[in-house]
């Protein structure tokens, strides 16, 4: 397994580099090779869970051993948390590609679409695997630049404007992250995440550590679209082609924002109460403001985009409560529970929001309309799309048989156990708000009398409906993760990898 780690980056990159050359002669090449690559990577990440559940694998690029205990080259690290992220990324990417086979036929320059998607996945895999700060920045830029181009894929007025906004804010975020990395190098003279953590623990009382943390919160918060920094998300996610919206909302904001925040704050800095409080506050703000703004939306994809902001808030609440409990030295089990809730919700949101954007794409594909006022009565015309949309909405808003219910429940229980009653109350309240706007969405889409313009509508092609059905089934099946045995196998390694008694540092300096 150890020697297979670089394949997560090599395979999508090789597919991306080959496609422009080969696609001139073989038209089917781009889709088939991307599907093949993602399927292989999903199998590889499942292999990790079967064989190495609790161990941390280390890969030294270039074969450079540490000198005097100081790592001198780039190390790739694969532990439970990275493996979970890799599984989500490649799984969603597989179904987005499958979905795109029919969807993207409306656009010109199809091969470029698959190339950019492959590059984005390669960038995200690189971010997740990286054990080096600057390397992380480089691969974050790969993913971001590919996503800037994908948002503008339709080259109409709105797409270009959204992409410009996204690029400017994303550019500021990248530069602030680079400033943070520069400050880290100034203080510690090293870039390896684990080596930095050993030195910076000594400075934990000093203001410089706090300043670096603020820079990283601003930078990665911009990438993750937490609330004061969310201005770009609704435009970018609603203007992109629908499979790309699924990738952006489902995976990119998590791999490029939330994942890095969690990784850095748990494994690199020593946790302080102030920072934990800041993250929880940002999470609560995102949850409230995203949810409230979503109520007023009449555009299918914009509503989903605002809902993404709200759900990212839930994930950061789980993470923030875990940090607060660890910082105050309270019961570690509660922290583990909160983190479990956050990560569980991350999985659910990736699948559910990916599915919902796909249904939005299907509705747009079949009718050409995104305005909720003009839609209606689709349940008879498009039964698969409407049932998938129903499943996704209910999973995100947290109704019992669906998986979203359990993850939100775990977060709320953890908040109550940690005595943060206000947070628990707000989380439960926002769950009702979420339910209300999704119910309104369902009503407008499917039950209201159909308007005259959409009478000739047919169900979407097989590739699109298959991905939707599969993800819809996953929305229910994922609730099995609450069963202790499955939970031990999939999410607990990720939670354990984040705690300070994990073997993340130990393996590197051997």
């Amino acid at each position: 397994m150890n020697s297979l780690i670089p394949l997560f980056v090599i395979l999508p990159l090789a597919a991306a580099f080959l496609t422009p050359l080969v696609s001139r002669f073989l038209g089917f090449f781009p889709k088939s090779i991307s599907l093949l690559v993602y399927a292989t990577l999903v199998i590889l990440s499942i292999l990790y869970f079967r064989g190495f559940g609790e161990t941390t694998l280390l890969y030294k690029a270039g074969g450079w051993e540490p000198v005097n205990g100081v790592p001198i080259a780039i190390y790739l690290v694969l532990d439970g948390f990275s493996a979970l992220m890799l599984l989500i990324i490649n799984f969603i990417a597989f179904f987005c590609t499958l979905y795109s086979i029919s969807y993207i036929k409306k656009f010109t320059a199809e091969p470029n679409f698959y190339v950019l998607l492959c590059l984005m996945v390669a960038g995200m895999n690189g971010v997740v695997l990286s054990g080096d700060l600057f390397n992380l920045y480089v691969f974050l830029e790969v993913a971001s630049i590919a996503s800037y181009a994908l948002v503008a894929f339709g080259v109409e007025k709105e797409e270009l404007e959204a992409s410009f906004k996204y690029q400017v804010l994303g550019g500021i975020a990248s530069l602030i992250i680079l400033l943070g990395i520069g400050l880290v190098y100034w203080t510690t003279s090293t870039l390896n995440i684990d080596d930095v953590s050993q030195i910076i623990q000594g400075y934990s009382g000093n203001k410089i550590a706090l300043f670096i943390q603020i820079m990283f919160i601003v930078g990665f918060g911009l990438k993750a679209a937490m609330v004061p920094f969310h201005a770009w998300l609704p435009d970018a996610h609603s203007s992109a082609p629908s499979p790309i919206s699924s990738m952006l909302s489902g995976v990119l904001i998590k791999a490029g924002g939330v994942y890095v925040l969690i990784r850095l704050f748990f494994n690199m800095f020593s946790i302080t109460y102030e920072i934990a409080l800041t993250i929880t506050t940002l999470g609560v703000l995102s949850m409230l403001i995203g949810g409230i703004l979503a109520i007023g939306q009449w555009d299918y994809k914009r509503l989903l985009a605002y809902s993404s902001i709200s759900q990212v808030g839930y994930i950061s609440i789980g993470m923030g409560i875990g940090m607060m409990v660890l910082a105050t030295n309270a019961n570690r089990d509660i922290a583990a529970l909160a983190l479990f809730g956050g990560l569980f919700h991350m999985i659910n949101h990736a699948v559910g929001k990916g599915l919902l954007f796909m249904t939005a794409g299907s509705v747009e594909y079949a009718t050409g309309i995104r305005d909720l006022n003009k839609l209606g009565g689709l349940i008879k015309k498009m039964p698969i799309t409407s049932s998938a949309s129903f499943g996704g909405s209910m999973s995100i808003s947290g109704l019992p048989p669906f998986s979203g219910f359990f993850s939100k429940l775990v977060i709320i229980i953890a908040a109550i156990q940690a005595h943060y009653y206000l947070v628990a109350f707000l989380a439960a309240g926002m769950s009702i708000v979420t339910l209300s706007y999704f119910l309104r969405l369902q009503k407008n889409l499917f039950t209201v009398k159909p308007k005259s313009e959409i009478e000739q509508v047919k169900e979407v092609p097989f590739a699109m409906s298959f991905s939707m059905v599969f993800l819809g089934v996953m929305c229910i099946a994922l609730s099995l993760l609450i069963i202790p045995d499955l939970r031990e196998a999939v999410i607990t390694p990720a939670v354990n990898a984040l705690f300070e008694n994990s073997n993340y540092p130990v393996t590197i300096l051997k």
């Binding site: 020697s3 990159l13 090789a14 080959l18 422009p20 890969y59 690029a61 270039g62 074969g63």
Partner: protein, 141 residues
């Protein structure tokens, strides 16, 4: 452009090209390397386009050619790094060729090869970006 500009360009372009190749091939000995050399070669080409006007050269074909070159070069880079997986220490980015004596032209293992590949890649990328912006203007107006 005037005849003076064209004549001077004809002389300078060759020299610039040679300088770019020199910078690339001596990247492991003197300052510079693949990035600088590639950008210099691209600069020479851009000078050519600016001096002789964009309509003389068949830009559309050239753009496709340069993007093909780019894909080939970047595949070469990936291949060079993947070969490390099979030779010697069997790790990604392993420097598997003999190192030679420090300071000689043929030394440093794979580094000169990386320099050449990156040089082609950067030159092709910059030329493609420039041509894409130029051609775009022609077709719109």
């Amino acid at each position: 452009m005037t005849i003076i500009v064209k004549t001077v360009t004809k002389i300078i372009v060759g020299v610039t090209f040679l300088y770019g190749i020199y910078i690339i091939s001596h990247g492991h000995l003197t300052p510079g390397g693949g990035f600088a050399g590639g950008a210099i070669i691209a600069g020479a080409f851009i000078l050519l386009v600016l001096a002789f006007g964009s309509d003389v050269l068949k830009l559309k074909a050239r753009e496709e050619g340069s993007s093909t070159f780019e894909s080939l070069a970047i595949l070469g880079f990936l291949l060079l790094s993947i070969i490390g997986l099979f030779i010697g220490a069997k790790v990604f980015f392993y420097n598997y060729l003999p190192k030679g004596t420090v300071g000689e032209l043929i030394s440093a293992g794979v580094i000169p090869l990386y320099n050449i590949v990156v040089g082609i890649e950067v030159a092709a990328a910059l030329i493609t970006i420039f041509l894409a912006l130029v051609i775009y203007k022609e077709e719109e107006s």
